[in-house]
C-alpha cells in the first residue's frame, strides 16, 4: 500500500470569502481580527444586535443592517419588507419600541424602475404595519456589474423602557430557553427561489416584525434576560453566541423543536440541517425558569408566537458549549457553522 498523506494547510486567509458573511465562525473571526481591534468600546464589545444608550433622559436603542438578498422577491416577502423586519427585529431584541428608520439604497445601473418601485412600496407597507416611519434616506447608483441590482441598508432607532435590560451575556444556569415557533422557513424559501427548486408544498419566508410579540412578553414577565432572532446561521449560531457571551452551556431538546414537514423535506433533499437555516420572524428568549411558563403563555396568545415552547435550558457546563439531546436520547454538540452550509453531493 502506498504512503498515506494529507494536504498542507492553505496560507493565511488574505481575501474575503462568501463564508465571512454567513454569520458563522468566519464572521466571528472578522469581528475579532478586524473590526473590534479598530473600533472597540464597551457598547460595541457586547456584540448585541443593537446598542442601548441613554440620551436626554431617555434610553434609546440603535441598530443597522444591510440587505443583499438574492432574489429580490421571494415567497413570503421581498428585500423591501425584509429591510424593515430585520431592523425592527434587531431593535425589538433589545426590548425597544421601534420608532424611526433610515433607508439607504444602493442601485445598480440598469435596474428596472418598476423593480425599485415595487420594493419601495413593499418597504413602505411593512413600515406602516410595524408602526415605524422612514424619516431619512440616501440613494447611490453604482456602475453596472458593481452591484447586484439593489442593496438596502436600514438603520433603526427605538425607545427602551426603564428596567428592560436584555443582553446575550445575561444567561444564567437554570434559565429556560424559549423558541417562538417552527424553524428554517426563510432560508428554505430563499434557497428554493434561488435554485429554482419546486416543492409540492411551497415554503414561504417567515419574515415578520416581532416587536409587538416582544412587548407582550415584556409585559408578562420581568425575568427575560436575553432575546435574539436566529437569522443567519440559524438557531445553532444564535445559541452558540449566547452561550459564549454568557459563559454558560446550553442544552436543547430535539423533540421540542418544530420543523414544518415541507422545510424538513427540503432540508433532507439538500442535505441541510434546519438548526443552521435562517429565520426572519422567530425569536429565542432566555428566561428566568420561574417565569418561563408565563412568558410562553403570553407568546402563544400572539399570532407570531403561537408555536412558542421551551426547547431547553442553560447549564453550568463548559462555557460556550451547546448540546442537543437527540430524539434517540443521545447527546451531541451543536457547533457554530464555519462558513455557509454547503449542499452535500449525495
Amino acid at each position: 500500500m502506498s504512503i498515506f498523506t494529507c494536504p498542507l494547510p492553505l496560507p493565511a486567509r488574505d481575501r474575503i470569502l462568501l463564508g465571512h458573511g454567513s454569520g458563522g465562525k468566519l464572521s466571528a473571526e472578522l469581528m475579532r481580527d478586524i473590526f473590534l481591534p479598530a473600533l472597540s468600546n464597551p457598547m460595541l464589545d457586547r456584540l448585541d444586535d443593537q446598542a442601548v444608550f441613554a440620551a436626554g433622559g431617555v434610553r434609546l436603542a440603535m441598530t443597522t443592517d444591510s440587505f443583499v438578498v438574492k432574489p429580490l422577491f421571494f415567497r413570503g416577502g421581498d428585500i423591501g419588507s425584509l429591510a424593515v423586519h430585520g431592523t425592527v427585529n434587531d431593535l425589538a431584541m433589545g426590548g425597544a419600541t421601534p420608532l424611526y428608520l433610515s433607508a439607504a439604497f444602493i442601485l445598480e445601473e440598469g435596474l428596472a424602475m418598476d423593480t425599485l418601485r415595487r420594493v419601495t412600496e413593499s418597504l413602505a407597507q411593512a413600515a406602516r404595519e410595524a408602526g415605524v416611519r422612514v424619516i431619512t434616506g440616501d440613494t447611490k447608483v453604482v456602475e453596472k456589474g458593481s452591484g447586484d441590482g439593489l442593496f438596502i441598508n436600514t438603520t433603526g432607532i427605538g425607545l427602551v423602557p426603564e428596567r428592560v435590560e436584555l443582553s446575550a451575556d445575561r444567561a444564567k444556569p437554570g434559565d429556560a430557553v424559549i423558541l417562538s415557533g417552527s424553524i428554517g422557513e426563510h432560508g428554505i424559501a430563499i434557497l428554493a427561489e434561488r435554485e429554482g427548486l419546486e416543492f409540492e408544498t411551497p415554503v414561504g419566508s417567515d419574515s415578520a416584525a416581532l416587536h409587538t410579540l416582544v412587548a407582550e412578553m415584556l409585559a408578562a414577565a420581568r425575568g427575560i434576560r436575553c432575546l435574539r432572532d436566529p437569522t443567519r446561521g440559524g438557531v445553532s449560531s444564535t445559541l452558540n453566541e449566547i452561550a459564549r457571551q454568557s459563559k454558560v452551556s446550553i442544552r436543547i431538546e430535539e423533540r421540542a423543536i418544530t420543523v414544518r414537514p415541507e422545510v424538513q423535506g427540503a432540508c433532507e433533499l439538500l442535505g441541510l440541517d434546519p438548526l443552521y437555516v435562517a429565520n426572519e420572524g422567530k425569536l429565542i428568549a432566555i428566561v428566568d425558569p420561574a417565569q418561563a411558563e408565563a412568558v410562553v403563555s403570553a407568546m402563544r396568545r400572539h399570532p407570531l408566537g403561537e408555536g412558542a415552547g421551551i426547547i431547553g435550558s442553560v447549564g453550568d457546563g463548559p462555557p460556550g458549549l451547546v448540546t442537543i439531546r437527540t430524539a434517540l436520547g443521545t447527546v451531541r454538540i451543536v457547533d457554530m457553522l464555519s462558513g455557509d452550509q454547503l449542499p452535500r453531493i449525495c
Binding site: S2, T5, C6, L10, E195, G329, R332, R344, I345, C346
Partner: protein, 368 residues
C-alpha cells in the same frame, strides 16, 4: 414525514439496541462505508447507544474526501480561466488543493457556481454559448448516472461548450484493498445504500465469499443503521458471511439497470488515486474516448501531474478505519473545518468533520 419519521423512531431504535445487547457475546469491528452513514452515526450518537463490544470504524466513502489533490488542482486551474463557468457540487468548493481552493478562485474573480445536479450545468451551457461550462463530476457510483446522462445529452445535442472533469471512484475495489491489507481489523461491512441503489448488491457477493466477511446493505437513518448493525452482528455471531439487504425499500440485488447501461455507454474502468489512500487499480471510471470532445482534461489539455501529499495528518489511517479522528494530534488544533489539514475534515460527510461537529468542543483535543 413518511419514510423519515419511522426510521428515526426512538421506540424502534430502543428495541434494536436491546436486541443488540442480547445478540453480542464478544467484540466485533464493523465499518460503515459511506460518509452519509458516518454522519448519521455521529449526529444521533449511535456509537454511544450500542453495546461497547461493537466498534464502528469509518470507511472511505466520502467522495469529497477521497478526490485526489491532482484533480482538485486541475479543477482550480480550469476554473480560474476567464472563459470558463465552473460548476460543482457545493461541498467540493472548500476542498483544498495543493495551493488554493475553489472558494478562493471565486473570490479572485473566477466564475464558480454551485449546482445540485449536472443537468443544471447543461442548462448553464445552453444559456451561455460564448462560455465554456465545466462540471466537476466527482463521486461514487451514486452520482455517476446523472453525470453520464449530462455528457450523453451534451453529445446528442452537439453542445460543444460543455465538458466534464471526471474523477469517479468505485466502492468494491476500495473494500478489496482494505480487506487485503495486513493491518485490516474490519470484520463486517455496512455496504453503502445509495451506491447499491444504482449498482445493486450482486457485486458484494464475491467479496463476501472470497474474504469470508458479512455485508449488510444499509440505509441512512438511525433505525436503518441500528438494524444493519444488528444484522451484521447476527451473521458474525452465527459464523455466516453473506450479503443481506437492510435497505430493501430502495435497493435490489440487480440495481438500476437503465442507469447501469448508461454508465457503461459513457464511462470505462480506470485506475484512480484516492486522496489519503493512494492509487487503487481499476477503482474508478473515466469517460470513454468517444466522449473526448466533452472531457475537460482533453479539452483544456491539462497535463498529468503527480502532486505528493505531505504526511501532515493521519487521514489515510482514518479512511481505512485503522485510527479514529480523535487519535490524530492535529485534530481540532492544526486541523479544523475552517482550516482543514486533511480531506476528511473538509466535507460534512468526512469522518473528521463529523467528529469535530458532533463530538468535540472548541479546544484542541477536547472530546465531549
Amino acid at each position: 414525514m413518511k419514510y423519515i419519521d419511522e426510521y428515526r423512531d426512538p421506540k424502534i431504535a430502543e428495541a434494536l439496541v436491546r436486541k443488540l445487547q442480547r445478540q453480542v457475546t464478544r467484540p466485533w469491528v464493523l465499518m460503515e462505508i459511506c460518509g452519509g452513514q458516518t454522519h448519521t452515526l455521529m449526529r444521533y450518537g449511535i456509537d454511544e447507544l450500542i453495546p461497547r463490544q461493537i466498534e464502528l470504524v469509518h470507511g472511505p466513502g466520502c467522495p469529497v474526501c477521497v478526490t485526489p489533490l491532482e484533480v482538485v488542482d486541475k479543477a482550480i486551474e480550469i476554473a480560474a480561466r476567464p472563459e470558463v463557468i465552473f460548476v460543482s457540487y457545493g461541498d467540493m468548493l472548500r476542498v483544498p488543493g495543493s495551493r488554493s481552493d475553489l472558494f478562493r478562485v471565486k473570490a479572485e474573480g473566477g466564475d464558480v457556481r454551485i449546482a445540485y445536479t449536472p443537468m443544471d450545468a447543461l442548462k448553464i451551457a445552453r444559456a451561455n454559448p460564448g462560455r465554456r461550462v465545466v462540471f466537476f463530476a466527482i463521486g461514487f457510483e451514486t452520482t455517476a448516472p446523472a453525470n453520464a446522462m449530462a455528457v450523453w445529452q451534451a453529445k446528442r445535442e452537439g453542445l460543444a461548450n460543455f465538458s466534464l472533469l471526471v474523477s469517479h471512484v468505485l466502492v468494491p475495489p476500495a473494500i478489496r484493498m482494505l480487506l487485503e491489507s495486513p493491518a485490516n481489523r474490519v470484520q463486517g461491512f455496512i455496504a453503502p445504500g445509495h451506491v447499491c441503489t444504482v449498482m445493486g448488491y450482486r457485486q458484494y457477493e464475491d467479496l463476501a465469499a472470497r474474504y469470508r466477511v458479512p455485508f449488510v446493505v444499509g440505509g441512512f437513518e438511525p433505525v436503518d443503521l441500528l438494524e444493519s448493525i444488528s444484522m451484521l452482528v447476527a451473521q458474525l455471531e452465527e459464523g455466516r458471511a453473506e450479503v443481506e439487504n437492510q435497505y430493501a425499500r430502495a435497493v435490489s440485488r440487480e440495481g438500476n439497470a437503465p442507469a447501469q447501461r448508461l454508465i457503461g455507454d459513457v464511462f470505462e474502468e480506470a485506475d484512480r488515486k484516492w486522496r489519503g489512500i493512494g492509487p487503487i487499480p481499476r477503482s474508478g471510471w473515466r469517460l470513454r474516448p468517444e466522449f473526448d470532445a466533452w472531457n475537460a482534461e482533453k479539452v483544456f489539455g491539462i497535463p498529468e501531474k503527480d502532486v505528493p501529499e505531505p504526511p501532515e495528518c493521519i487521514s489515510a489511517l482514518v479512511l481505512q478505519g485503522l485510527k479514529k479522528p480523535l487519535d490524530c494530534p492535529a485534530f481540532g488544533a492544526g486541523c479544523t473545518p475552517e482550516r482543514p489539514l486533511g480531506a476528511p475534515m473538509v466535507s460534512g460527510e468526512g469522518a473528521c468533520a463529523a467528529y469535530y461537529r458532533y463530538k468535540t468542543h472548541g479546544a484542541p483535543g477536547a472530546s465531549a
